[in-house]
Symmetry: C2
Subunit: 433 residues, 2 copies
């Protein structure tokens, strides 16, 4: 144990040295770099962003970083399915779906090719890092937290820590990582405790997160990072086309889940008290088990509005369960982050209440009972239109969650370049945030 920690510390220190900004070096140092590195730029030409696919290089990590955690075969020929019956772990499996989207298409493709723009998702895997726009690090950091120890003090959590140490060493030795200080690297950290020991050492990379609740502001922020949806745990409502969608949902407001939560999630216990004793409200304290998920699936499909309060963090899987159940989300979480919000206006299909509003007696239910039927039908129609953006498919499909995540990555490229260019020339700390 002591030896392990010592290795960890050494790696961490070496890694910190690697992160010293290039701008601190004497300016002539750049002249000694190979010409190929000097000319590197993910957007070489001054051409506009285009429909060409995003080219992603995926690090070839040992399977203990990813597929081996699935306790399934890690055959190279087919991608192992996500294990059934792991509801809670599934919600943070974006790391798995991103890897799968690249795994399914190991094509030899070079920078100039236009292939892949219009068929399927708008990302292609390149097998040579020199052809890549960005670099994907397929470490299942959320699953590693979930499977290595049942709580944060479990001795098995050391396995999680060691994986983080090993990953930092791999990245630190990569010429691709070194040349950008990781700025063009995409690292999933969706669970709030993912990569918890050393994530501050990856503060230059594009992190894929659920929100920023437990991430320091200098490690993760909206400009740099990608907010990804939770993977829904209730079943997709594919044949939701009744003649009377409003009438076929008798329950006004539905909630099923844990009511004792930390931080902003304390609102749940208060709501539980307020929601007791109303015929049109279904409010149930429960855990996410197989039976519970089935009950939630049914309940959400029978309800007009679905409560989506903050959990231990501002975000929660419940929002996405509501969306794919076409149940208008009632979002009570003042600091929530919403995926793809540059493309999706959530006010078109959700209602937002401040914590204060929600806790004003009879206010929330009053608003919902008086909510115009026509407007609810509009929102329901919109939910049916957007729900495919929150589906995770294998292979990924154009417009699904995985595709949109890669599009978010693509949008960050100008900022990645800007940051790299500034780091090469600035003589003082950057003032850009």
């Amino acid at each position: 144990m002591a030896a392990k920690l010592s290795v960890a510390a050494t790696v961490a220190v070496s890694f910190l040295l690697l992160l010293i900004p290039a701008s601190l070096f004497f300016f002539f140092s750049s002249s000694s770099l190979p010409a190929r590195l000097l000319s590197f730029s993910p957007c070489l030409s001054v051409a506009s962003a285009s429909d060409r696919p995003l080219k992603v290089y995926m690090y070839d990590l040992p399977s203990r970083f990813n597929l081996a955690m699935l306790s399934a075969s890690d055959s190279d020929l087919s991608f192992p399915p996500w294990p059934d019956g792991s509801g809670v772990k599934r919600q943070h499996s974006v790391e798995y779906w991103m890897m799968a989207s690249l795994f399914s298409q190991p094509r030899e493709i070079s920078r100039g090719d236009k292939t892949g723009a219009d068929d399927g998702i708008r990302v292609v895997r390149v097998l040579n890092g020199d052809d890549a726009d960005v670099f994907f690090v397929p470490f299942f950091s959320s699953l590693s937290f979930n499977v290595h120890g049942h709580n944060m003090t479990d001795p098995d959590t050391e396995i999680d820590r060691q994986l983080q140490v090993d990953l930092l060493e791999i990245l630190g030795n990569s010429k691709f990582y070194q040349r950008s200080a990781g700025r063009d690297h995409v690292v999933p950290m969706h669970h709030p405790n993912a990569f918890r020991f050393y994530r501050d050492l990856l503060n230059s990379s594009m992190l894929v997160v659920s929100d920023f609740a437990r991430l320091p502001m200098d490690v993760s922020y909206l400009r740099k990072d990608i907010v990804a949806p939770y993977v829904h745990v209730v079943d997709s409502f594919l044949d939701d086309d009744p003649s009377d969608p409003y009438g076929s949902r008798p329950t006004l407001l539905f909630f099923r889940g844990r009511t004792v939560r930390k931080a902003e999630g304390i609102v749940r216990a208060k709501l539980a008290k307020m929601m007791k004793g109303f015929d049109d409200v279904h409010f149930e304290d429960s855990f996410a088990t197989g039976e519970g998920i089935k009950a939630s699936t049914e309940g959400m499909r029978k309800s007009k509005f679905c409560l989506s309060p903050a959990g231990d963090t501002p975000s929660s899987c419940r929002l996405f369960d509501a969306i794919i159940s076409h149940c208008v989300p009632i979002i009570i979480s003042d600091r929530i982050e919403l995926p793809f919000e540059d493309e999706i206006d959530y006010t078109e299909f959700s209602l937002f209440f401040s914590v204060k509003e929600a806790l004003t007696p009879s206010y929330l239910l009053g608003q919902l009972r008086n909510f115009p039927r026509e407007r609810w039908l509009e929102m329901w129609g919109r939910l049916k239109n957007v729900s495919h953006h929150f589906e995770f498919n294998y292979p990924a499909q154009k417009g699904d969650a995985v595709d949109l995540i890669w599009q978010q990555v693509r949008r960050k490229l100008p900022d990645v370049n800007l940051s790299m260019h500034r780091s090469r020339r600035l003589k003082i700390p950057d003032w850009w945030r």
Copy 2:
């Protein structure tokens, strides 16, 4: 005068009221808005950014806001040329070139059209605001500062102030401005004193600036705004193709300009002392007159390196004069902003010295005298390749400064949408910067 100020105050207050975030309104208020407004979104579909041209609506302002200041005919049929011999005013004329780029092509085009993507610049003017991605405000705010009064206390400066008041009123009455709080509006403010009386009221719009020196951090910042080049005042070096480019530039280091400047520009006076008495250095204190500009044109073409120290603000026209003269810029300005820096790596053709390095006796000249000939030739070659990005043409051309400015605007669209969507749903002040 008193009456004018009173009007100004009234307009300013009314305008402030318009800026009250929509999120403060009760959430049902959105349901009473016309459906067309609700569905507005510059990037309606979840399609990727593409090569389709940016669609710009240009406000039809009275000519006193723009062309009338040129003291030339404002005929509708041809765009008046920029007056000759106005070197200093010309450097901030980006507002003129942006207007010209739209003026030349008043085409009836609607959102779905793909016309214009591959021929010429990647922007088209739309005549209906409902078809627009963004809105251009063709107020010559820099020229207005320059022509209305010869200094900031001149009574004529009241004309500049009144134009700002009138513009705020026009925008405040526009449904397009109101629905976005100006977020999708592009307003040139290139001169550090442009729009100086009320620019804080346009803090949501995309401002076109030279740097952020005199702009408060909550009014203007890199994420939101566009840093545009100064319009060069020396002549373009179009036939720079000698057999011996290195040998044909006998002067090692060239500078011609004002040596008494404010703020960081005090470095100029110190440099002036240090650069005296060297045969290979041409350092001359001078004003930008017609003759002076001719002398600078000649001098830069005969020099290997051109000094580009901070002026009254971190940026200065001299950098762009050096670039289009293919004279390697020596940038001494720790807080300089560089146009198009996400696309252009200035270290490929410029050298950066901190103010401290530059003032270390004989250090800077020592570095330049020992600079490898091969590396200088590489930089010279790169300058020849990038210089067209700093040319302002009428009509604009693909890849020129005007085109790249519009591309910068296009890049901001996802952030504009993100900001608008968040403003509609947030219950607390946004934490995104």
